[in-house]
Assembly symmetry: C2
Homo-oligomer: 330 residues x 2
């Protein structure tokens, strides 16, 4: 069966193409009688407007691009999942592009977004991306860009991210409230701005409360390293009484070590993490964590995008406050 087009409908009804077009969109100029006739036939023939023609004509599509280092990450997963839901509700489609944390691929993906004249692009940059001039170029083409999570330091762009100071502060406060005295605190790659922010807020909080706790700060790049590190500290004579994990990755290594030694939180050692929220439920008791939810962030990013698409031209930096979720491990 060949495609049903406006032309075909028009011919069958002995109307002009424009009348049919208008009738279908409820244009006030068209008589009710005609509207009914047209709509009926369209329904019968299962007419569907040709998206390509509409795109060409209007010079934009209802597609958003999203460029992320990798989809294999609980945070991005929840972000995407949530974003797709919103997008669908508003009649937009979501196109996923992974950069593999590689700047070259990231740029290629950006180019695709430009070529395909996306309605807008969400970006979480790679850890090496410093020059964002290429991203800003899309702005000239009136393609709004919303940076989320891993955002550039550059000021004049739309950003939506987790409030890292807030998250780390909450974690420190929870440890202080539980009167922990010997705390192993494991942070991620010290080069990343996320680590810097969390670390400084964490340390400041202990100072602010005049805590006398012995806070050991360590950094690591992998689950495996965290695993080794925690084993080492748990074997010391003056054993630590709590562990703070800056990320899910670190939490996984930490819990492996705790399990191999046959220890049980919170009695043997307290555990608290900053997490997306899935991993903490894999253990018993659930891990107490500071939530950095991709869901909420996605809702916020999407709202900002809608505003930009609608013409908002000013730039905003939005932050999401975290909350403490008690799991029983601290």
């Amino acid at each position: 069966m060949a495609d049903v087009t406006l032309k075909k409908l028009a011919e069958m009804l002995n109307l002009s193409i424009s009348t049919v077009s208008r009738a279908l969109k409820n244009h006030p100029d068209i008589s009710d009688e005609t509207k009914v006739k047209v709509k009926e036939l369209a329904a019968v023939l299962d007419y569907e407007p040709n998206t390509y023609a509409i795109n060409l004509r209007t010079n934009h599509s209802r597609e958003f691009g999203i460029i992320i280092p990798s989809i294999s990450n609980d945070f991005y997963q929840s972000f995407i999942s949530s974003l797709e839901e919103e997008a669908r509700i508003y009649g937009y489609a979501l196109i996923i592009l992974q950069s593999g944390n590689n700047q070259v691929t990231e740029l290629e993906n950006l180019k695709r977004c430009k070529q395909n004249r996306m309605a807008g692009v969400f970006v979480s940059i790679t850890s090496n991306t410093s020059d964002i001039s290429n991203f800003l170029k899309l702005g000239e083409q009136h393609i709004p860009i919303i940076f989320f999570d891993k955002v550039p330091a550059f000021e004049a762009c739309n950003k939506v991210c987790v409030d890292d100071y807030n998250a780390a502060t909450l974690a420190a406060e929870a440890l202080i409230a539980k009167k922990k005295k010997h705390i192993l605190s494991i942070f991620g790659n010290p080069q990343m701005s996320i680590t810097k922010k969390r670390l400084s807020a964490y340390e400041e909080t202990f100072k602010k409360y005049g805590s006398n706790a012995n806070v050991v700060i360590q950094t690591t790049n992998s689950t495996e390293e965290a695993f080794q590190m925690v084993q080492y500290y748990l074997n010391e004579k003056d054993r630590i009484d709590a562990i703070f994990c800056m990320s899910d990755e670190i939490l996984i290594g930490t819990m492996k070590a705790i399990q191999i030694m046959g220890l049980k939180p919170p009695a043997d050692v307290g555990v608290i993490a900053i997490s997306e929220g899935i991993i903490p439920t894999f253990y018993y008791p659930h891990i107490t964590y500071i939530e950095t939810s991709g869901f909420k962030l996605a809702k916020m990013a999407f709202l900002r995008m809608l505003a930009c698409v609608a013409g908002s031209s000013y730039v905003q930096e939005l932050k999401i406050e975290s909350v403490l979720i008690e799991g029983g491990s601290l």
Copy 2:
């Protein structure tokens, strides 16, 4: 800066639009001299063809749709991640549509794929989808459909999935090899074909080997239920010596129960699962599992899709063999 079009290039070079178009695509009719001239200017002005116009003209796009119950699932995540990589390499974009395991949403998504004249669609159906006539309609529009993972029972369609018989057989064989005698075997929703297949292969294998093991079969719908169930069985006098988990979901509940009771695999109880492969590494020792990798499945599905796009019209059912990954928990 306004968009650069063929027309603009043609005017600037005093050539016709068609000549410019042909020069850009290396048409043999065009002289080398002209080609160079045109390409140079195009490069300088950063000419980019208008995708919308091309789509309209050629009546197809380089976009694949993928409809899944939810992206929040390790298996789909690895599948999508892998599929996106392949797609990008071949110049295709991937559009994600979640059905939320809801048939109505699934149908809406399908409609979108049709409306947007996707080059092809990958589908993993909801657990309730039985009527796939709507999917097959896309075939009439020459939009190939590849079903993966959760595939319909209906014969005449392209399917790519895990070999469930094989996976369950491997698990049973591993348990027999370890001489386990009292095995709690937890399966998922008994309505789903995946459960039926795995269960029958599992039971058959014990029979085939003439095993005298006491194999307790249970089914469950959630992590929480599995958690309760495992606790119950671990508290019995004649305690089980191994647990088989049909899915990651079940494995998580199982491990929670094992942890709360302070038991350590494999000495206290053996554990084996059918899994995507991420979750088993969260525990120590790693869980021994039968791998059902989304990565491999995606590569296969993509190849099949390319063939279909290229015109292959016959229907195939492809299966992926699983492998046993020793983690140390059995």
